[in-house]
Amino acid sequence: MEAVLEMEKDYQPGSKKQIVIFQLGTEEYAVDITHSREIIKPTKITKVPNTPDYVRGVINLRGQIVPVIDLRKRFNITVGKADKKKERIITIESRDTLVGLVVDSVNEVFWLNLTELEPAPEIEGGIKQEFIQGVGKKDDRLLILIDMERLLFADREAESEIM
């Protein structure tokens, strides 16, 4: 319900949204800056057993335990080799939970005009459509805006319902 309201608010003509653009393989993705907390360099990640393979583990972020998700693995992105030196963790807050996303690199922060946001096309073999909030453009670059709440909790909830 809240998400719907937020969307409507967002789609008011002329409204803009600040997004963080990052690289995964050959594509550029983005998250709403209001969800993101900070961008940190990779630190030591402790593996957590009995979790899906895209969960890299947990890190100690100033005393707080933060799970870290490998977005490449999450979206099954195999193309392009990541430069370890440029790798970053973006911490995202959703539903009072802090989660870290490992991305190949963080490119820039950008004001996206929401009127230019188009509904997501089905991308072959890549990220599932349901996790995409829309596709935006910057010059001739395509930016895939991720719906963080769905990404983090949608399939988790489905899982627990089955259990």
Binding site: P49, G57, G63, I65
Partner: protein
Amino acid sequence: MDNRQYLQMFFDESSEYLQLLNENVLLLEGDPENEEVINAVFRAAHSVKGMSATMGFTKLTDLTHKVENILSKVRNKELHINEEIINLLFAGLDHIKQLIEDIKNNGEEVSDVRDYLNQLDDFLNRDQNSGQASVREVTAQEYDFTSYLSLSEEEQQEIAQKIKEQDAIYNIEVVLDESCLLKNVRGYMILKKAQELGYLAKSYPTLKEIEDEDFGLSIYFILVSSMFTEDMEEILKDIVDVKEVILEPSELTIFPAVKEEEAREDKQKSPKSLANIQVAPTVRVDINKLDLLMNMVGELLINKTRLEGLKISSEIYQDIIQQLDRVTMELHHIVMQIRMVPIGGIFNRFPRMVRDLSKELTKEIELVVEGADTELDRSIIDELGDPLMHLIRNAIDHGIEHPAEREKKGKSSKGTILLNAYQKGSEIIIEVEDDGAGIDPDFITRKALKKGLVTTEEVENMDDKEKLYLIFHPGFSTSEEVTDLSGRGVGMDVVKRVVESLDGQVFIESEQDLGTRFIISLPLTLAITQALMVKIDQEIFAIPLGAISETLMINPNDIRQVRGQDVIVLRDTTIPIVEGSCKLNLNVEYGKYTEREEISVVIITSGERQVGLIVDELLNQQEIVIKSLGNYLVNTKNISGATIVGDGDVALILDVRNIA
């Protein structure tokens, strides 16, 4: 006035008073003549009324006012406690509770209490005829001033000390309005004002009695003052809720004595009366602040451990570390102490429940409560109410038999439920025990089979104990006829889930026709615990010490095989051993441990089950701060949380209950 900031205080205090009322009315039922209890009930009801009035809740004020009327008649011996009154009082308490709930949920008093108020009025009117004579007697007495305020020799001398040339002595009666809700406050204000006007020689009621609101509508006092009567009258009348002021010169004639210490004595007088109304020196603290404090202590502890890890060989460093160690330990201890509250807080709500339910089911049940002063972490206590209530309801509903049936079995017709709490090491044990019918394991299994919770083969391999534990299975509810009390589908599995979410365990002991005992064991506190650090596949894991019975180094030759399972024999007990890396699904080759010369095994105890957990290496024992893995990873198998170890790394905490 914006009352919102006071609302929480109102809720806290009113629920405390309600609890007190419930307890004392229950006591009154057993001991109707106990004046101390009657007074306690009266005072509590009165406080609730005062609070409601201050907050502007009219229905609540009205209701408590009427209840208080009954109590006041009981106190004045115009009414005698009987079952009808007790039931009326209990009903009233339920209505008060309902209204407070309304305010909590909807912000206003929704429930209709008119029926109950009419019931009360009926009751009081019915009683009026018998009580009238005595009431009138009191009224007649009230106007006899001197009978209340005759001055003793000493008091007359006291006045002689105070009185000055132009002073006169007055007899004053101040009558309060009948609708006055805060009589004690008004009375106090009147006497304070009187003290400003002159020397207050004596009052009836006394200041102390006024604070306890132990008086009617009139306050009488003797005042020595130089003011004009009209002025005094006006000042006194200006006080809120004052209906009438009757002022007349006293017939007493006392001449001023020689006095030197007047000033000093005056000073002594006023602080003394103020001291009477001081409240107990405690503070209410938001539980979130305590959580925050606990977190900070946790942080401090982690950093202390990191400092210790530096191993600097300097004398000063050693000294500082020792000091720091002592201070952090103390601090941790104190914070834990602050968070501890006696479990009696939740135990106290059960006597009333047992009374009501046993009446309803026509069973005779006595509830014995022991160890109510056992202390537990606040956050744990808050969660425990519902599971305990469920266990007690079950004991009443399914456990204790009807009196006739009990006598047939050769037991006393009155059943007993024992609610007991005590500390055992670093755990708190809570027991709910009844001397009822016990649980029939075969009945449980039949039920479980019928519901398809288990298969026939599974049942064949179960002993009686395991069969009993089937009642914790989700969706299991044994009640044949669904009563109002238990057997609503939300059953024992909820009890188990809540207790486990608090890092505790539930056990059952049951003997047919002798009774059932549920045992809940809980950690003293949730935040910090002692743990053994172990290494499994290059990663460090923490195992809470409470779950470990011992650690061993074994030789591959010690390993035996039972039905394909590796076991060791330890002091005549066969204990299965499992590999830690296997339980954690780590990506390593399993079974390699048999090639090692020495194998480190941690014996884990969970209830009555024991399991030997094979680890690569036993490290140190240390205090760990338990941190959650967060919502995202909340249901990770065999991992219950994480902690931060010396060098700032994360170590995962093994959920040993599920491993054992």
